[in-house]
C-alpha cells in the first residue's frame, strides 16, 4: 500500500494532538528517571528526620553501596541469575526446542509450543504460587515425584530455584524468536552439509549460526534486559532466606520500600538505569544496522 504523505495536518492541531501523550510520558516516565538521579544523591528516608529535611550527600550512597557486603552479594547473585536463567537457560533451551520442532507439524508441535507459551503469558502472581506449590517442602509435587519428602528446595537452594523458575517462565520468547529465525535458513544448505557428512554441531556452527547471528544478538540483549529487571522472583522467595536470592530488583525493594532508605535505593536504581540504557542502546544500534525500524 502507498505510504501516506506527511503534511495533511497543520502544525498547530498536530501539537495539540501530541501534547497530552507527551505530558503523560514526561511526568510518569521521563521525570521519574531524572528524579532517580537526584534522589540518589540525597539521604532521603521514608520516615524520621531525613524524611522531613533530606540532605544532599553527593556520592556517599554510591560509596556506601560499593562498600556494602549485602549490595555486592546482590550484584553477584544478579549476574548468576541473568547468565544462568537468561543467557544459558532461556536462550539455549529456547533454541533447542525451536531446532527440535523445526520440521514438525501437527499436535505435538502445537502442544509443546502451547505449554511453553502458557508459562510465559500467565500472570506472575499465579506462576509464582504454582512454583511454590511445586517446590513445597511437605506436599510439593516435585518431592512426591522424586521421593524426596521434606526436601526444602526454596530454603536450601533458593538461587537455583529462581533460576530454573525463570528458565521455565521466559523460554517462550527465545523459542519463538529462534523458530522464526530458523525459517530463514535455506534447507538446501543444511541438506548439502548433511550429505557432506557434517555432524549436527558442525551444521549448527557452519550453516545455521551465520544465518541467525542477528537474531541471536537481539535475543540475548532483550532477555538480558528483561531478566535483569524482573521482579517475579520476589513473589517466590522475597530475596530470602537471609538474602541468598536477593537479586538487585528485590534488593532495591527491600532497602528502599521495606527499609525506608529511599535515597540509597534510588542510587542503586540509578545503576540499574545505566545498565538498562547500555543494553537498550545496543539493541537499537542492532536494529538500525539491520535496517529494521520496527520495535520487534
Amino acid at each position: 500500500m502507498a505510504r501516506a504523505e506527511s503534511g495533511t495536518l497543520g502544525r498547530r492541531p498536530a501539537v495539540g494532538f501530541v501534547l497530552p501523550a507527551l505530558v503523560l510520558i514526561g511526568v510518569f516516565l521521563v521525570f521519574p528517571a531524572l528524579w532517580t538521579v537526584y534522589l540518589g544523591l540525597t539521604d532521603y528516608r521514608l520516615t524520621g528526620l531525613a524524611a522531613a529535611d533530606p540532605q544532599v550527600v553527593g556520592a556517599a550512597n554510591y560509596a556506601e553501596a560499593l562498600g556494602d557486603e549485602r549490595f555486592r552479594t546482590s550484584l553477584w547473585l544478579t549476574v548468576q541469575f541473568v547468565l544462568g536463567s537468561a543467557v544459558l537457560g532461556q536462550a539455549v533451551l529456547g533454541f533447542a526446542i525451536a531446532w527440535a520442532l523445526r520440521d514438525r507439524r501437527g499436535p505435538l508441535k502445537s502442544l509443546t509450543e502451547g505449554l511453553v507459551l502458557l508459562a510465559w503469558i500467565l500472570p506472575s502472581s499465579v506462576v509464582a504460587f504454582l512454583w511454590i506449590a511445586l517446590l513445597d517442602r511437605d506436599g510439593g509435587t516435585l518431592n512426591a515425584i522424586l521421593h524426596t519428602p521434606g526436601f526444602a528446595w526454596l530454603l536450601d537452594h533458593p538461587m537455583a530455584s529462581i533460576i530454573v523458575f525463570n528458565v521455565w517462565r521466559g523460554t517462550a520468547f527465545s523459542m519463538m524468536l529462534y523458530g522464526a529465525a530458523l525459517e530463514n535458513v535455506p534447507p538446501s544448505h543444511l541438506e548439502t552439509a548433511r550429505l557432506a557428512g557434517a555432524s549436527t554441531l558442525q551444521q549448527l556452527r557452519d550453516v545455521v549460526l551465520p544465518h541467525i547471528k542477528g537474531h541471536v544478538l537481539t535475543n540475548l540483549l532483550l532477555i538480558t534486559l528483561w531478566t535483569f529487571n524482573d521482579f517475579t522472583a520476589f513473589q517466590l522467595t522475597a530475596g530470602g532466606p537471609e538474602g541468598r536470592s536477593e537479586i538487585l530488583p528485590v534488593y532495591i525493594y527491600n532497602v528502599a520500600m521495606s527499609g525506608g532508605r529511599l535515597g540509597f535505593g534510588a542510587a542503586v536504581s540509578f545503576l540499574v538505569l545505566v545498565v538498562n540504557l547500555v543494553l537498550a542502546f545496543g539493541y537499537l544500534r542492532l536494529l538500525r544496522s539491520r535496517g529494521e525500524v520496527r520495535p520487534s
Binding site: S6, P123, A266, L273
Partner: protein, 274 residues
C-alpha cells in the same frame, strides 16, 4: 552408518521433547487439578470433582472485589493509552514534525529503560506528592506512561498505511482536524486500536510491582496483589480459594493472548511484551 545415526537422532529428539513437555507441564498440573478438587492439597493429583472452590471465592472479602479492581485499572489504562496514542500517532503520521523519528526512538528507548524496578522510588514519591497513593488513578497513570511509547509507535504504523485521500476530501468540505480524526481516520484504524487496547489490558492485568507499591488499601488492590497476599499472609493458606482464584484470574489473559496473536502474530508480542 547414516540410517543408524538418523535413528539415534530421532530417538534423541523424541526424548528431548518428552523432557521439555514434562518440564513445562509439571508446574501447570496443579492449576488444572486443584481448582476442581474437593480437598485441594499442595500436591497435584486427580481431583475429586467439585465446583465448591469457586463458591468459596464469594465468601472471601477481597477475591471478587480485586478482580473488579483489576478490571478498573486495566480498562482505565487501555482507554487512556488508546485515546492518547491515537491522537499522537495521527499527528505524528500526518504533520511535518522535525525530528519526529528521533523523538519516537528516544521515547521507545525510555519506555524499555525506565522499568518499574529502576523507577520504583521516584514513582512512589511522585504518587505520594500528587496524592495518588491508594487510588486507581495512580496505578493507571503510572502504567500508562510506560505503555504509551510502544502504543504510539505501533499505531503510527497503522496510520501510515491508510490513504490520505478521504481525509483530504473531508477537509475540502470544511471538517475540522478533530472531526476528520473521529469520523474518517478512527474507523479505518479500528483493528489497530482494538489490538492496542487488548495489549494494554493484558499488560496491566498481570502487573504486580506498581500496584503493590502504590496501593496500601486491600479494597483497592488488583488480583495480582490479592493473590500474593493470599499465599503469603500468616496461617495455613486457603488452597481452595487460592486455586479457584488463580484459575479465574488467569483465564482472561489466556483469552486475550489468543485474540492478539491471531490478529497480529508473533512480531507484535515479541516486540513489546515485557
Amino acid at each position: 552408518m547414516t540410517p543408524v545415526r538418523h535413528m539415534l537422532g530421532t530417538i534423541g529428539r523424541a526424548a528431548f521433547l518428552a523432557l521439555v513437555l514434562g518440564f513445562f507441564a509439571l508446574p501447570l498440573l496443579w492449576l488444572a487439578s486443584a481448582p476442581f478438587d474437593a480437598h485441594p492439597s499442595i500436591t497435584a493429583s486427580v481431583p475429586e470433582f467439585t465446583l465448591a472452590n469457586f463458591r468459596a471465592l464469594l465468601d472471601n472479602p477481597y477475591a471478587l472485589g480485586s478482580l473488579r479492581n483489576s478490571l478498573i485499572q486495566a480498562c482505565g489504562s487501555a482507554a487512556l493509552v488508546v485515546t492518547l496514542a491515537a491522537l499522537a500517532a495521527y499527528a505524528l503520521s500526518r504533520a511535518r514534525v522535525p525530528g519526529r523519528d528521533a523523538l519516537l526512538y528516544v521515547l521507545l528507548l525510555l519506555s524499555s529503560v525506565v522499568t518499574g524496578t529502576a523507577a520504583m522510588v521516584p514513582l512512589f514519591e511522585l504518587a505520594t506528592r500528587l496524592n495518588l497513593i491508594d487510588t486507581h488513578l495512580g496505578v493507571v497513570l503510572t502504567l500508562s506512561g510506560g505503555l504509551l511509547p510502544a502504543a504510539i509507535f505501533i499505531l503510527k504504523d497503522f496510520m501510515d498505511a491508510t490513504p490520505t485521500s478521504y481525509e483530504e476530501s473531508a477537509r475540502v468540505f470544511g471538517a475540522s482536524p478533530g472531526q476528520v480524526l473521529r469520523h474518517v481516520v478512527i474507523p479505518l484504524v479500528r483493528p489497530g486500536l482494538a489490538t492496542i487496547a487488548v495489549w494494554a489490558v493484558a499488560g496491566v492485568w498481570g502487573s504486580f510491582l506498581q500496584p503493590f507499591i502504590l496501593l496500601r488499601d486491600p479494597d483497592k488492590a488488583p488480583g495480582a496483589v490479592i493473590l500474593y497476599t493470599l499465599y503469603t499472609e500468616g496461617g495455613a493458606p486457603r488452597l481452595d480459594v487460592i486455586s479457584a482464584f488463580s484459575l479465574l484470574y488467569s483465564l482472561p489473559v489466556v483469552v486475550m493472548y489468543v485474540f492478539v496473536s491471531r490478529r497480529y502474530g508473533f512480531r507484535f508480542h515479541g516486540g513489546i511484551k515485557r
